[in-house]
Symmetry: C2
Subunit: 177 residues, 2 copies
């Protein structure tokens, strides 16, 4: 089982990526603070052809040397936009027909593994601040709340990890098109 | 959809976690360099009741202030051990009857989402160095090579993200017991 070389992997250039089919999924960051996490999420969005990353509030957009350190250039391939408030991003996404989901631990949530997105719709998933999570006022406006079940001592996962798991779930149930 | 409070979440103490049922999955780090990544992986292992985290080679074990910064105490709940070489860890795991898998991009790999672990077996998954991945000599000794399909410009995911996705996959197909 020989490891693939970089040539074997035959990845897209940033220009090819912009023109390539995408997953009908937008990822929204509600005041994610850490540039390390933002960069890592850019890299995950690149891997799974996420159509757009929306940075809101204190979530700093590129260019930034700290984002680059973990995004490794994915900030140049993945389409992104910035809104001063997450509420404005949700307004724009809902007006454009997106099903808006938050990733949060709430009463009445749907456990992530049980959620089956409709392949005819476009989705947005909101991940929140490292300590405070997604703001309750934003949660209230979502069509679905998705929760990653957890069985340990800590109250949450790292936001780049939980966002990665969520993108992977959508990637497995939607089609790149 | 009201956000759960810390009291609602009702997490285990470290003592309760040690005594609680676990996922029959051990995570092995083959020379993972970043303490930030190691800490984040501890936190993911805690969330999904991974039975053990095995640190090998340059993967530094706790205690470490840098690991603590991202593990947030999960280094005290998750059982861990250290081997000077990953080969020794693989020897010990295979001798104990584990099915050993690596997470790597190789010729003839199984795409992660298609892999169905046998619920009667115990598994070990090896994640590798941030740049070099899992060493070819270790890959050669694995029972399965699991690959996360990727469609972007970059050659890999952050190791804490790819390990998180892999743990989530096993968590969805094995039982905590």
């Amino acid at each position: 089982m020989k490891k693939k070389t970089i040539l074997d992997l035959d990845r897209l250039s940033a220009e090819q990526f912009h023109a390539a089919p995408k997953l009908p999924l937008t990822v929204v960051l509600d005041n994610v603070r850490s540039l390390n996490n933002i960069g890592s999420i850019f890299r995950t969005c690149d891997a799974f052809a996420v159509e757009r990353l929306v940075l809101c509030g204190i979530s700093q957009p590129p260019p930034s040397p700290e984002i680059h350190k973990t995004a490794l250039g994915a900030e140049d391939s993945v389409d992104w936009s910035y809104f001063a408030t997450t509420a404005e991003a949700v307004d724009a996404l809902q007006a454009a027909g997106y099903v808006v989901c938050c990733l949060e631990q709430v009463e009445g949530s749907v456990s992530l593994e049980a959620f089956r997105p409709d392949t005819e719709r476009r989705y947005a998933v909101i991940a929140g601040h490292e300590v405070d999570g997604v703001d309750q006022l934003i949660v209230n406006r979502c069509d679905h709340c998705l929760e990653i079940p957890q069985f340990g001592t800590k109250h949450s996962l790292n936001v780049a990890v939980s966002t990665g798991i969520t993108i992977w779930h959508f990637f497995n149930h939607l089609h790149i098109k």
